[in-house]
């Protein structure tokens, strides 16, 4: 008995890197690949001459950085939707708020280099005849304070929204509609000039970040690399959370919230904090996105954006962190390609993709992939069993073998 106990203890200690049970749930391979690609792409941009066939253009670097921030956004949606069953159709709002916080910081870095040359006010405020900065722009010239706001503003909004919604036990479609309403309300608000965020045009014409020129190759590469690092970091953190007992509670809430309550879990608290965590990841993604694309405007709040994120996650495979990331990367690559050929057709293509995935790949691409590898494993095991069954058949299974057999059955039935 004590032997079997210690085998369980070992099992749970080592599962951080084993990706217990989930298809594609392993952390290390993805992080290694991500960082390797980042280093290679960065080196190819900075060290190789433009004539080299392996040279990676700065345009490509920026594009990759943009994809990676989308991947982070997808990760945020997956945490809340795939694991907790809360279909948020408003995560674009947290992304945009994070982006606006970064945008305000970047605006303040312009200083007197604007078109109107005002020492402090951004161009659009001069244009509106404003005489001083609104109070909520104060302090935003400090990088640390701006970064704090990147997290605090969306985090607080998510907390208040979640507290109200989850406490009154709003779930399902109603909750999704509320999240759409949230992002739509913000869209309308940010369109107004009186909001003090540049209205229709948003914030743009950024010059530099922390004193580094935003147009230079090195800054671009650095931003891309930082995005990759943050993606890796949020990926590892999310994985750790989902493997902890809290992660199990979250999945339990998804599959039987009433049951979880009867076990003594205050499920609304769990949902609120997970929602806040997810909103903060989305906000970081937004803050990394803005300096790379060079603009943030109210369009980022549009409800359709939030729906697109959900489609990325569905295509990749919800409920697996890696699936969300892969889905975001692939769909956005396809979008870049597709819009170059047929700019007006993209929404139709996206809709069709969503329908196809929902009908034929309920577990997304990662689900298909893990099914294939499983089949392969099963086949290999079967042939191995055939070879060794002669000598092993009368020996009782060791506990370790039992445990791993158990894990496999688990995987097979996921």
């Amino acid at each position: 008995m004590s032997q079997s106990l210690s085998s369980i203890a070992r099992f749970s200690a080592s599962d951080l890197f084993k990706g217990k049970g989930q298809p594609g749930g392993r952390v290390a391979p993805f992080v290694v690949i991500l960082l390797a690609v980042t280093v290679l792409a960065s080196a190819a941009n900075l060290l190789l001459p433009e004539s080299s066939p392996f040279y990676v253009s700065t345009y490509t670097i920026t594009l990759l950085g943009k994809y990676l921030s989308y991947a982070m956004l997808a990760l945020a949606v997956d945490v809340i939707w795939g694991y907790c069953g809360i279909l948020s159709l408003g995560h674009g709002a947290f992304f945009a708020l994070g982006g606006y916080a970064m945008g305000v910081y970047l605006m303040r870095q312009i200083g007197d280099r604007g078109v109107y040359g005002h020492p402090e006010l951004p161009d659009f405020m001069v244009f509106l005849d404003w005489s001083e900065l609104p109070w909520y722009w104060l302090g935003m010239d400090q990088f640390w304070f701006a970064m704090l706001m990147v997290l605090a503003v969306p985090g607080l909004l998510a907390y208040i929204f979640g507290w109200l919604a989850f406490r009154s036990r709003v779930t399902g479609v109603y909750l999704s509609i509320m999240t759409q309403a949230l992002t739509y309300a913000l869209l309308l608000a940010f369109f107004r000039n009186e909001m003090g965020f540049g209205g229709n045009n948003g914030l743009t014409d950024f010059k530099d970040i922390l004193g580094f020129d935003l147009q230079s190759d090195t800054t671009r590469v650095a931003l891309f690399a930082i995005t990759a690092l943050m993606l890796a970091l949020t990926f590892i953190t999310s994985h750790w959370i989902m493997q902890s007992r809290l992660g199990k509670v979250v999945v339990a809430i998804r599959d039987g919230e009433a049951r979880a309550r009867f076990l003594g879990y205050r499920t609304d608290n769990f949902k609120v904090w997970l929602f806040v965590y997810s909103a903060m990841i989305a906000a970081i993604a937004g803050a990394l996105y803005v300096p790379q694309v060079g603009i943030i405007n109210p369009g980022e709040f549009s409800p359709i954006n939030s729906i697109e994120i959900v489609i990325w996650v569905a295509v990749g495979g919800r409920g697996t962190l890696i699936g969300a990331i892969v889905g975001a990367l692939l769909v956005n690559y396809a979008k870049t390609r597709f819009t170059a050929i047929m700019p007006d057709g993209w929404l139709f293509a996206l809709g069709a993709l969503f329908v196809l995935v929902t009908l034929f790949l309920p577990k997304g691409l990662v689900g298909v992939f893990s099914q294939l590898t499983e089949r392969w494993f099963l086949m290999r095991n079967r042939s191995q069993v055939k070879n060794s069954s002669a000598e092993e058949s009368d020996k009782p299974l060791s506990t370790g073998a039992q445990a791993s057999a158990g894990v496999q059955t688990k995987e097979a039935s996921v």
Partner: protein, 281 residues
């Protein structure tokens, strides 16, 4: 001057390290069962759109008792459990756990925390989790967000889970997904989830539905062995089963108590024969 001294004295009192500030004191108190009764249900009324599911229902359960609740379909047995566990609000009446805990003003998690565990009529286990994880989630631990995030299984908890796995006979299936279990095994797992949480009072709704005769027998043994240390309320339609475990039986009919007593007393009760057992005979 003395006022100041008083103030500092009070301040010192406030900062005493061997005491917890009143507002930080856990509100939890032990269940007061000095009158041997652990559950008081009095004058409970509940109607769904005019239909009286519970009708002036009175029920007292003694500490350590094993009580069977029987009654025809729709008699209100499950609804009664819903009210006790905080799932459904009643229209009027009182429900006390011991003498000191008014259950009607508490939420489901608070009621669970007090030590009331429940098995549902339709087995509800977390299908995407393994048998082991289902039990881990049910452990009697701090269920706050942060403690859950940082939780690690202690050797005692592992032992407890192992014991329960042994009791419910799912040792071999510990790493199997709960969704892959048979109906009877799910029933057992749910009972196991109750056991690891070490509740004072167990509410068990139709535990043997879908079980084989052998499994039913083992369930009967298990439930009888639990009584004494725990208080158990069992709802069941299987009369054979009820007869094998029952000491006191309460018959519900149209939302109120029709009869109460030993199995023989109840079976010979005229009203009961008329409305319930009569149907079968």
């Amino acid at each position: 001057m003395s006022a100041l001294e008083n103030l500092t004295a009070e301040g010192k009192e406030m900062l005493r390290r061997d005491q917890v500030w009143p507002f930080l004191m856990p509100k939890q108190q032990a269940v007061d069962v000095s009158h041997q009764v652990i559950l008081y249900v009095e004058g409970l009324n509940l109607s769904f759109d005019g239909f009286k599911a519970l009708n002036d229902l009175n029920l007292y359960i003694n500490d350590g008792e094993l009580r069977c609740l029987i009654g025809a379909n729709g008699a209100g047995k499950t609804t009664l459990m819903d009210v006790i566990t905080g799932k459904t609000q009643c229209d009027s009446g009182t429900v006390y756990f011991g003498q000191n805990h008014n259950l009607l003003e508490r939420s489901e998690p608070e009621i669970a925390e007090l030590g009331i565990g429940r098995k549902f009529q339709k087995p509800t286990v977390f299908e995407a989790h393994t048998v082991f994880d289902n039990l881990e989630l049910s452990l009697k631990t701090n269920k706050g967000v942060m403690p859950t995030l940082l939780a690690r299984l202690t050797p005692t908890q592992l032992d407890r889970i192992d014991q329960v796995l042994e009791i419910i006979g799912l040792k071999e299936q510990r790493f199997l997904l709960a969704g892959a279990l048979s109906h009877g095994q799910k029933q057992w797992l749910e009972i196991g989830m109750l056991l690891v949480s070490e509740p004072r009072l167990l509410l068990i709704d139709e535990p043997v539905a879908g079980m084989t005769a052998q499994e039913t027998e083992r369930t009967a043994e298990l439930l009888t062995s639990l009584a004494g240390e725990h208080t158990v309320i069992v709802v069941e339609h299987d009369m054979e089963f009820v007869r094998s475990i029952a000491r006191t039986v309460t018959v519900l009919h149209q939302g109120s108590v029709l009869a109460e007593g030993t199995m023989d007393q109840v079976q010979n009760n005229k009203d009961v024969i008329e409305v319930y057992l009569g149907e079968e005979a």
